[in-house]
Symmetry: none
Subunit: 242 residues, 2 copies
């Protein structure tokens, strides 16, 4: 079984990176990926806060952006505070980690994603994710910092591993994100060329909806190739066969 | 119903008092009691860390010791890291907070107790408590700080207060089968016409796979119309616009 990676997208404070690493080691997670950390890497403040998790900090991998950091992963769970108006599955921490436990047990490569401290993840980044995790809080203070969220997610991950009932179900072997990117860029080219979006300012939301919708199908690499073949056939129908 | 008080026994760092107050306000707890805080009271560092929980810090009550701080309470739950060789009930956070929820609902006055950062509670203090809460961690790093523990306890307290229905599951309103049929028959026509299936005897399995794959996306009626529009655009790209 491969344990999920934790991806911090554009993390700002080194202290927070350290606190996340600490929570990871408290709860049995070990692979930390950093997408474009604001203050560069290594960051001595991260090490200071990482009580007992120095090895996680020292072996963290750095990527230029979220796309690169998630390229080889099949499933992404993102923690979000703000409700997003998006057709995505939203789960509370326990259900999310139980689901992730079953998926990793079935061999899937997954990531748990945390956005930058102030702004959170961009919509573009949310679209790449498959499931959103929302931590319910009291209405009078709903703001959890990244270290608090990581503790709760870690706690539920660890609990899910104690739970013998986390049975491996039969999951499709979802294609890694870079293969989805390939398909989406092919489809986007076609749709641009045939002026599907018509009004330019409506394109972002239309394209977002299309991607969310198709991503839910959880296609395998083989299925993605089949789908791309289908798109190409539709596209080339009037072109000379090669 | 009276919500449980949180008692910090001989807390050392103001920052930690602030972090506990923050977690309390995130999860619907409001009464903070301090037994002999090391650096006196008020403590500006507590206020700095209390994002959104300033009222909890400002209304915290100070007592000379744990005995005084717990005098009016009927039930005490203490978080402990080290296993204690004591005949006490020991519960994990979820079970402890469910039990506490039932007790406070029945009108009991209860407290959740955290010991000093380095040493933890004295045996004498543990004896005063009724139930011990132990947070399971990975063996490689079992040390949780007081802020992390407070987040987990707060999270479980808040969950214990929620209805079963609070589980946020946000699924699209899947289109009825006849709408799927409409889309599939449109797509099949296109694919036949552009000879996508090539070898006739392979069509049944290829078509079955395509349908299974697309159906997994669980599209709503609106999404299905969007998808059909997209297919039509791809198909008609070389046809004169009408």
């Amino acid at each position: 079984m491969k344990r999920p990676a934790v991806i911090l997208v554009r993390p700002q404070m080194g202290e927070n990176i350290g606190a996340v690493a600490r929570a990871m080691s408290n709860f049995g997670l070990s692979e930390l990926r950093l997408a474009a950390p604001r203050d560069g890497w290594p960051n001595p403040k991260a090490l200071e806060m990482a009580a007992g998790a120095e090895n996680i900090i020292n072996s963290a991998q750095v990527f230029p952006d979220f796309t690169a950091a998630a390229a080889d992963l099949q499933l992404l769970y993102a923690t979000t505070a703000r409700p997003r108006d998006m057709e995505k599955k939203v789960l509370p921490p326990q259900a999310a980690m139980q689901s992730l436990a079953a998926e990793t047990k079935a061999g899937m490569r997954a990531g748990i994603v945390f956005g930058p401290e102030r702004s959170g993840l961009e919509n573009e980044e949310i679209i790449r994710c498959d499931t959103l995790i929302t931590i319910a809080t009291a209405p009078e203070n709903w703001s959890l910092n990244i270290a608090q969220s990581a503790v709760i997610i870690g706690y539920e991950w660890f609990r899910s591993q104690q739970d013998e009932k986390a049975v491996a179900r039969d999951f499709p072997d979802i294609a890694p994100k870079e293969e989805w990117d390939g398909m989406f860029s092919q489809l986007e080219n076609y749709l641009d060329e045939c002026e599907y979006f018509r009004v330019e300012h409506k394109k972002p939301i239309m394209w977002q909806n299309l991607r969310n919708m198709l991503q839910r199908s959880a296609m395998s690499g083989q299925e993605l190739r089949t789908f791309r073949g289908m798109l190409r056939s539709l596209w080339e129908k009037n072109s000379p066969k090669t």
